[in-house]
């Protein structure tokens, strides 16, 4: 929709050209959320396009995803065969409530910064042990794990003027065998629980709970836990108050689905790898 209070769009081409952050400013990445709701408090958009950050960089340490990388670009990434976790990328892109037409515009960074519990890029990058690099408003950089970047529903560690630059995914995480489970109140609706589990070649087990909880919650075990052990850990680590409540799922149901999907993941990863 038209954002009629916007008086100016600035187009910086480098970090040095970023304007001094003032009240009424907003970073414009894809714009798919900004333009989807009234934003009467905003007067200036700072367009990140001309910073021309490379969308995806595969290096020795792993994968670097620019905050401005679109969901479609990520979805289309040709992954090396040893990245056993690669199917998670497509699964998480498909977990978007939005249409594929939006994926071409919506960005990975935008999804993180929205910090909705159901943000599938949060699920993906937190499960893959992603680390955010933030350009601090006052200069300098800060790094923070994706799982710690989101602090609550629509809350994160960014302070006014901070800019999410990129997410780095370590190679080790990409090489883990993974399992994905998601449930929604409707067949292709917004995630009410999205869980990702993985095991490393050494046998360690990790589980990331998203969508059902206000922020990502991660579990790790030296090996695949027993069903009761995993269940107890979830019951212990996730208090009832941390389960998200909104029109897309009642908390008691989300809790049960979390326990159920976690057990399914545990069982899947306990079994043989699918060819």
């Amino acid at each position: 929709m038209d954002l009629n209070t916007i008086r100016e769009v600035s187009h910086p081409q480098s970090r040095a050209q970023l304007p001094v952050w003032t009240a009424g400013d907003a970073w414009l990445a894809g714009g798919t959320w900004l333009f989807s709701e009234p934003q009467v408090h905003l007067t200036r958009l700072i367009d990140l396009t001309d910073l021309k950050w490379p969308a995806l960089t595969i290096g020795e340490a792993g994968l670097t995803i620019a905050a401005t990388c679109t969901v479609a670009q990520l979805d289309a990434l040709g992954c090396p065969p040893e990245w056993l976790a690669a199917p998670l990328i497509n699964s998480c892109c498909r977990a978007f409530l939005a249409s594929f037409k939006i994926w071409k515009t919506a960005t990975v960074g935008g999804n993180l910064c929205m910090s909705l519990p159901a943000g599938p890029m949060i699920s993906l990058t937190s499960a893959l042990d992603g680390v955010c690099t933030i350009w601090k408003a006052g200069g300098g950089e800060q790094t923070v794990r994706v799982a710690d970047f989101v602090t609550a529903s629509q809350r994160n560690v960014l302070e006014p003027g901070d800019l999410l630059r990129q997410i780095d995914i370590p190679l080790a995480a990409l090489k883990r065998r993974s399992a994905f489970r998601q449930i929604s109140l409707t067949p292709v609706g917004r995630s009410a629980a999205l869980l990702i589990g993985s095991i490393s070649s050494e046998g360690s087990f990790a589980l990331t709970v998203t969508a059902s909880t206000a922020r990502p919650v991660q579990f790790s075990f030296a090996g695949i836990p027993q069903a009761d052990e995993l269940r107890e850990a979830i019951l212990h680590r996730i208090p009832d108050t941390l389960y998200h409540t909104d029109i897309h799922g009642k908390p008691a149901w989300r809790k049960h689905m979390t326990l159920r999907l976690a057990d399914e993941i545990r069982a899947e990863l306990q079994g043989p790898a699918r060819p």
């Binding site: 954002l3 249409s99 515009t105 009642k250």
Partner: protein, 909 residues
């Protein structure tokens, strides 16, 4: 800046925060529609460098120097893209508002995406079709027939507007550029109940571009109802154009008129309103309890038709036949249950709104998105003290209605603004305004008590209904009365009782919505019938067969109706039950389901009077054109109901011509005559009858006139193949027109219909569902619908109405729900949080028609737009009960609502 749109270069600079959608429309590309303006519905889809995007989410400046393709430029000039042709062949549209976006999206799908249409099309909402026809288009199916002269009725002819719809050329309400337009934006109440003490306009009037602020001081000091009925006494007079008391969050407070929407919005933000907060009540049971704040304390039954204003009761009805209490005591089996239905919205993709101006002749013109142009004209004339011929209300194509446009929500403000400013004005609601300020279905709490004897004969049926009409009483009474009518009238039962009340609350008003109260009560009644059957060991079909009315049986629901004009013009309920029973026995494709899925079947039936009571009037006029074709003028509106197709079929059949020879003019008060409106499924049954009469009158006139020319007896003449034949002589219609012209005679005729007597139509819905006992998920394995629509005028379109009704009702059964918090605020006023059925959510429904011919309806046809909606929730609830043994009594049946009871019964895994 330079933009390449459909191969043409435009030098134009958008506003900094402007989205591509409005920019394209500003440049005249009206095929780009606004459904939600938030990226959820896909109606604004365009191609950017050949790739589909939602133009409402694209900052306009980013499209600079990219190739933009809108629906208008999708095919080479004058041509038709194969996907456009596919949509025409399959007739994959009803109102057509989503069609441009749907076509552009479908055409861009790759093979992989076509394999998973549920995922690929989740960004394209069609509120009308139920998606089967869209799938047909993608699979290249042809659903169209043709017809010889005089044989159009009963054939699957395509909608006349199809070619314009698929090219984005059909003009909807806002698809019109007007010079010097002022935009209206509305300041809305943030309080559920408050008195407006003062409005300071000073800062607003200083905003550049703002022309005027309208408040209650500018509005006529008259009460009316936004509900439009032929008889004004059906609704209470409780509403003002702008009031100094606001009774729900979202109610109009003041209108700002400005050169741009931006200035008008800024003007609204700068209004300083002083409110005196009043006590509010949002729960209907609390609203009618002693001590509740009165929402319309000054209204009376005598003057305003509010039954009991101090108790917040708008209308009520009570009555009994026989003695229900003792019948229940004596019954062999009995059931009592309380059922609740939620607040759902029509969600027509075109929002309410319009454009108004006073023309050089001093006539107030209102171009509106309405189902009722004539009744709106009447209301405007009364409100503003204008003679009827000084007000014109009209619509071209309307982007969906579903009853939501049987109201006057915006035309009053448009008229006030046009009259006060002397300028053309436009008012287009946002999707959020649609949710918070128009109307919804009436949420109801229905307690049903039912009893039967050992033989499965009903001995008692009792309804206790509490309906919530929100802050205003538009449709409150009629919906309540209808809700308590046919749902029990369809059953023979010696003891029946009804107690029903509709309450005011400080919430967004409820109004007319497809089915008009029946879906809510049928949900309860049909559950009770099933529960009795279960206790008796009877099948759901058998218990219904033993109790349904048959021709000759009185159709009774207490208290006794004052209307005695409903007859069995035809009867196909028995056939509908047989058709569904047979189809349900067919297992269908096998699906692999784990043991955690519980499977069950359920059915429900509905009867509906084919016309609303107390009069529904339609005039039609048809004339012979010089070229031997016809001009047919009707008042009824087209918003996807397909009546413009059917009217031409009726006329062409009566006049032995083909539909392409009949030009239809419709839904414009300037054409004269009257039409109560396109609601209550009256577009075919009532207005179609008027068209039939007009055409038949013209046919007689042809015979008389031709017989004079040919020197034959009029009764020896027949009409055949665009000609009049008298014995061996033949005169083509063109020759007839020529002869008439030479004699200075116009060959034209009129017809009218008063909407009485009325007939009854029937529907039966069957579902087979699987319910996952561990998650509460539901899968619909089979959906079967049988409809008794009399002689079906257009099987393809009628099937589309059935499928669309079932799909819309499935939305309300499974997903849709407007949540209002304790403070009276709608917390989910957007499609993202109000889940409309998308392609993935809607099963294919097998549709069957009973073989009947109605003695009252036009050419044997009956109404069939609303009633397919009515039995859906009930049938699904019955299937759930069959699958799980649990009677779920509240809709929507969302997994998180079903799960607690499933968990309780089946335990946790």
């Amino acid at each position: 800046m330079t933009y390449q749109i459909n191969g043409t270069s435009f030098s134009e600079t958008p506003h900094p925060g402007q989205c591509l959608r409005t920019f394209l429309r500003q440049l005249g590309h009206f095929g780009v529609k606004k459904g939600c303006d938030a990226g959820d519905c896909g109606a604004c889809t365009v191609l950017l460098d050949g790739e589909p995007v939602h133009s409402c989410l694209i900052p306009a400046f980013r499209a600079e120097d990219h190739a933009i393709t809108t629906i208008e430029g999708f095919a080479p000039a004058g041509g038709t893209h194969p996907m456009q042709q596919a949509f025409l062949d399959a007739q994959a549209f009803q109102c057509g508002f989503c069609t441009a976006g749907m076509i552009l999206t479908c055409a861009s799908l790759n093979q992989g995406q076509r394999q998973d249409l549920g995922a690929s099309l989740k960004g394209n909402i069609c509120r009308c079709t139920g998606y089967r026809a869209i799938e047909d288009a993608l699979q290249g199916r042809n659903n169209i027939e043709d017809a010889d002269a005089g044989a159009a009725f009963g054939r699957s002819l395509p909608a006349p507007a199809g070619p314009q719809v698929v090219r984005g050329a059909a003009r909807y309400t806002f698809d019109m550029a007007v010079e010097g337009l002022l935009h209206i934006k509305m300041l809305r109440s943030p309080h559920p109940h408050a008195r407006i003490v003062a409005i300071d306009k000073t800062a607003t009037l200083q905003v550049p571009g703002v022309h005027m602020v309208l408040t209650s001081e500018d509005a006529p000091d008259r009460l009316f109802s936004t509900a439009r009925h032929e008889k004004a006494w059906m609704d209470p007079d409780d509403t003002r154009v702008l009031d100094n008391v606001v009774r729900f969050i979202g109610q109009k407070v003041a209108a700002v008129l400005a050169d741009t929407e931006a200035a008008a919005e800024e003007g609204c933000r700068r209004l300083k309103v002083e409110y005196e907060i009043l006590a509010a009540v949002v729960d209907p049971a609390q609203a009618i309890a002693p001590g509740a704040p009165a929402i319309h304390p000054d209204k009376t039954a005598a003057e305003h038709r509010v039954a009991d204003a101090p108790r917040n009761i708008v209308a009520e009805t009570h009555g009994e036949y026989g003695d229900v209490a003792s019948a229940l005591v004596q019954a062999a089996v009995s059931y009592e249950g309380t059922f609740t239905t939620q607040r759902v919205q029509h969600a027509a993709l075109e929002t309410h709104g319009g454009i108004a101006w006073v023309d050089a002749a001093g006539i107030l013109n209102v171009r509106a998105s309405t189902q009722v142009p004539f009744l709106t004209r009447r209301a405007l004339a009364e409100l503003f003290d204008l003679p009827a011929d000084k007000v014109r209300v009209f619509c071209e194509r309307v982007g969906g209605g579903f009853g939501g446009k049987q109201e006057m929500f915006v035309e009053d403000i448009l008229a006030l603004a046009a009259l006060k400013s002397g300028r053309p004005v436009k008012f287009e609601l946002t999707r959020e305004e649609q949710f918070i300020s128009t109307s919804t279905r009436h949420p109801m709490r229905v307690t049903v008590r039912a009893g039967a004897d050992r033989d499965g004969r009903l001995t008692a049926l009792q309804l206790d209904v509490l309906s919530n009409t929100g802050a205003y009483g538009n449709h409150a009474g009629p919906v309540l009365f209808h809700a308590c009518g046919e749902c029990i009238g369809v059953y023979n039962c010696p003891n029946k009782k009804v107690d029903a009340v509709v309450a005011y609350t400080n919430t967004v008003p409820a109004g007319a919505f497809r089915g008009y109260g029946l879906p809510q009560t049928i949900f309860a009644v049909e559950a009770a019938i099933d529960e009795l059957a279960k206790q008796l060991g009877l099948s759901p079909f058998e218990i219904r067969r033993r109790n349904i009315v048959k021709p000759g049986d009185p159709m009774l629901s207490p208290p006794e109706s004052e209307y005695h004009d409903v007859f069995y013009g035809s009867y196909g309920l028995d056939q509908c039950l047989d058709l569904v029973e047979r189809a349900m026995q067919d297992g269908g494709p096998k699906t692999e389901l784990s043991a955690e899925w519980l499977v069950g079947d359920g059915i429900a039936l509905t009867m509906i009077d084919t016309v609303p009571p107390a009069g529904h009037i339609a005039d039609a006029r048809i004339s012979l054109r010089d070229d031997g074709g016809f001009e047919l003028v009707v008042g009824t509106a087209e918003f996807g109901n397909g009546t413009s197709t059917v009217h031409r079929q009726i006329a062409a059949t009566a006049l032995a011509t083909t539909v392409n020879r009949v030009r239809l003019l419709q839904s414009d008060t300037a054409h004269g005559g009257h039409d109560t409106g396109a609601y209550g499924s009256a577009g075919t049954f009532v207005a179609g009858r008027a068209t039939q009469t007009a055409a038949e009158n013209l046919a007689s006139e042809f015979k008389t006139f031709a017989s004079g020319i040919m020197g034959a007896a009029a009764d020896s003449c027949i009409l055949e193949n665009d000609s009049v034949i008298c014995g061996k002589q033949r005169l083509s219609f063109a020759q007839l027109a020529e002869a008439a012209r030479r004699q200075g005679k116009t060959l034209a005729a009129s017809g009218d219909s008063a909407g009485t007597p009325r007939s009854v139509a029937f529907n039966v819905q069957g579902f087979r569902v699987a319910v996952h006992k561990g998650t509460g998920e539901i899968r619909i394995l089979k959906s079967v619908h049988a409809a008794d629509a009399g002689k079906v005028a257009n099987p393809m379109q009628c099937r589309g109405q059935v499928e669309g009704g079932v799909a819309q009702s499935l939305g309300a059964t499974l997903y849709e729900e407007m949540i209002i918090d304790d403070g009276g605020r709608v917390i989910n006023p957007k499609f993202r949080d109000y889940h409309l059925p998308s392609f993935a959510d809607v099963p294919r429904t097998e549709v069957f028609f009973a073989d009947t011919t109605d003695t009252i309806g036009p050419m044997g046809a009956k109404s069939m737009s609303e009633s397919p909606y009515n039995p859906v929730a009930a049938a699904l609830g019955n299937a759930l009960a069959d699958a799980t043994g649990i009677r779920f009594t509240s809709v929507p049946f969302k997994p998180d609502r079903l799960w607690p009871l499933l968990q309780e019964k089946f335990g946790s895994k």
